[in-house]
Amino acid sequence: MMLNLKLAWQQLRSQWQAGDLRVLLLALVLAVTSITAVNFFTNRISAHLNNQGGMLLGGDAVIIADHAISQKYSAEAKQHGLQASSTLEFASMAINSDKNQLAEIKAMDDKFPLVGDFGVQFSAEKTVRNVRARPAKGEVWIEPRLANALKLKLGDQLELGAIKLKVAGILLREPSRGGDMFSFAPRVMMHMYDVPATQLIQFGSRVKYQLVLAGDAEKLKQFIGKMTPKLQRGERIEDVKTARPEIRSALDKAETFLGLSAMVSVVLAIVAMLLASAPFVARSQETAALLRCFGASKANIENIMLIQTALLAAIGGLAGCLLGYLVQFGLAHFAGKLFLENLPAPNLTPIAVGLLLSFAILFAIMLPHIRALKNIPTIQILRRNFVLNPSRLWLNYLPVITVITLLIFLLAKTFTLALAFLAGIFVICLVAGVLAYCLALVLHRASQSKAISNTIGLGMDNLKRRLGLSIAQIIGFSLGAMVLMLLVIIKTDLMQSWQSSLPVDAPNRFIINIQQNQVAPVKTLIRQLDVNQASPQVFAMIRGRLVEKNGQPISAEMFTDERAKRLVSREFNLSSTAVMQADNKLLQGRWWRADEAAAPLLSLEQGIATTLNIKLGDTLTYDIAGSKITLTVTSLRKVEWDSMRANFFAVTPPETLAKFSASYMTAFYLPKSQDDVLNSMLQQFPNFTVIDVASMMNQVRDIMSKLSIAVSFVFGFCVLAGVVVLYAALVATRSARLQEASLLRAFGASRKQVSLMMLTEFVSIAVVASIVAVLVASGLSYYLSRFVLDIPYQFNFLLALSVLAIALVLIPLAAWLVIRGYLNVAPKQLLNSI
């Protein structure tokens, strides 16, 4: 065993020095890095969610409701020996003299938080204190971004609704809150006692009520077991394991998306490894035959190869894990804060994943070779004609294909997504391959032209002479470039389309929470602000829950789609209007007649109808504040949501919902420098919530750019892996190229001619690879723009040129790195070394 180990290590060292292993190891490191980086990143977030669920909730469990929580729950909790604390969360305007900002208010009683603490700065000295406390009555704690926006400092007064509260602390850390992605507006913390005086919670206000619980785990379990069946509509219980489902769901999606993106680089890296394993195996054949000649048994050969593979896998795996660990800092920096503000240090699980991946990939690649090497005919040592080439048999690819498929299924989590991903990769490779083939033929034709010098012609023709490898190189590079291009195209197009689709005077402010008696003054104010709005529209909003469809009860469990589940479990905003909004389009059915003003009819938005499987003529029963109303769907509409106008999923005739109390909303254009009018309106009607669409758009843009930088990190690996495929193919053909170069030199070709010939080949590969990448990425982004995102498609010429420029630098450079060594060598020496 020691001898085998020694031989394995010696050979490995020598192969490394000979350069046979470098590309193989580089590709392996790249594959492990891309997977572990994603794994470290998602691991940190889920570790935080799992370990600090209590901190996130402010307790061990919480009952969440969209209505006031019955006293029965807290009484029951007390009976179970649990502590209970109440909180309220809602959005409202925070004002400081002439400045206003939408804020997320959290009001809490004297006991909150039951678990965890807040990081608060109480004085100007900038020291942060961790406190398990809450603002005192008459005081607020605010986030720094609100302090900046409203130019507030400690001790100043913040206007919330009808009262003013003293800013007593700057809130720097709140574990119970997600990062930016889930909270557009900055936080204001206040005492529950002050809420009624603000007069902010009025009819129709959207408020999140929470009863936070803490205590003995067993008692809590009993309580949850007992209360869960008694929960009413709109109520749910979260415990530490299910805390922050919105973050978990986003994390889950990010994990799948980033994992599959990383998988593209893994697949490319595996292609590179398959190519790079050729010289390694060829050299191992000689050694194996010689060892057999000296009496080594099959088991000896097998063991040596197995040890070498394990050593390589361990080295590659560890290096990949280390790099993955470093890369995840970038991911966490750009995207992590979208999930949680403070990410814990990563644990060691991703290292196990990385090592496992490294071993799985390398053994899958090497096992067929090991099997063949073990049985190498020893006579080859006399003949020196090593013809063993196990990679020609498709069966030898079986372990690699199995590993790739398993990985994809593990990462995709669902069968359909895994299949779609596999099919996608296959189709893209096929399209890229066919395109590359056609372009190589075009170059071949062109190379015959008399206008092209012989040297350049020979270089261009090399693509066709090594067609299989050329196509692998082209696909490798173009696949990497393609994913990066797609990201840039979609991000840019989406942003531009959002901006350009908005008319200059599109509404830029929404006001919600308008009460019935405030409708007329609001209309007057809007008319004052915007001369174009002669008759501003103010829409009623009646909150009702969908409870029955065609007389059958409807519940979240009946749907698999997440959006459908969400729509059914929360309240809808129903509105009423006589005339359909100008930017709506009737797709099916008919709009109501004037004589149907009070008829129980309903017009639904097409998307929601599809999600909930509702058809024209279906009857839907809504529960509005305890009373039920059944409406018949008479039309389906298409709504341009990005028009930024007020729009509703469900609309009834004007009088149908008259008997129900409603709050009102409107959308209007606030010209620049008219903020003071808005401020005076807010001072007059403190219960209004004004949503600044422009600043929200900016936040969305900010999130998108952070996310796209994070995704670029992962996609960057695809490009690197593409270059490694190219490099591997070069290394695999090194001896053939060496022979070619030396023969050409022997026949009198100058060094310059040989260089030019090879350069032409790689410039041709670069050009073809860029064309393939641009064509496929443009085709894909056209499809996504047209059919998925519904935005106009525009060919990005600048991006296409950039890809070509990058390819023209990267590809010939990678090639030069491999071939430069033997361009300076005398032909005789080259021939001797073959």
Binding site: G295, K298, T378, L382, R384
Partner: protein, 248 residues
Amino acid sequence: MLLSESESEYKLSLTHQPKKSTLIKNTSAILVTNLSKYVGEGANKIEILNGLNLQVAQGESLAIVGSSGSGKSTLLALLAGLDVPTSGAVEIGGQPFSALDEDARAAMRGGQMGFVFQSFQLLPTMTALENVMLPMQLANKKDAKQLAIETLEKVGLAERLQHYPKQLSGGEQQRVAIARAFAPQPAILFADEPTGNLDIATGERIIELLFSLNQAANTTLILVTHDVQLAQRCGRTLTLQHGQLSAI
């Protein structure tokens, strides 16, 4: 000129006489009966060896000559168990050899046979000393290092023990290969065109070394070459022609 060192300076010290093999006694070292090797099938069938018989005595030196493609290397491969015959049998030291399985033949090679190849076949990863030790290590010989050092001293490479093949000239590399072949004290030594990759002067010195070591150790030597002069250094020379051996 790759030979930079003075090849003639090495001294052949025979003070230490390698142990003669005790395995082969009172019987032929090699006995070949009706050996045939065909490749291809049907109309494409090529007969390389056709019912060949051969007996080699212990300590004998035998040269097999023949033109290119006559089957010399095939015969050597069959004698050394590197390949299996289509029919017929090879016995080594009175024991069936060609009928053994691959691993058993490998084990027997490891214990009793040495090889010198035309292209040296040194492992580039190992020093001269490690290369010489390798066959003995594979055969689990305890005094591998000592034997290897002694043999390398005998071939005049005492100063080159820790050199890697790429640091040695062609002649030196072949001397390492010869040391590797003799160090395990094999009963039979197979040499395949041992001077094929060397210039004439170096080749001659290598042959001198090979024969003197062979004589000292009383090893059975099977030398395959197309060089008639070299063949004449052996006790017996046979020509391989049309798949049959014949005496010159």
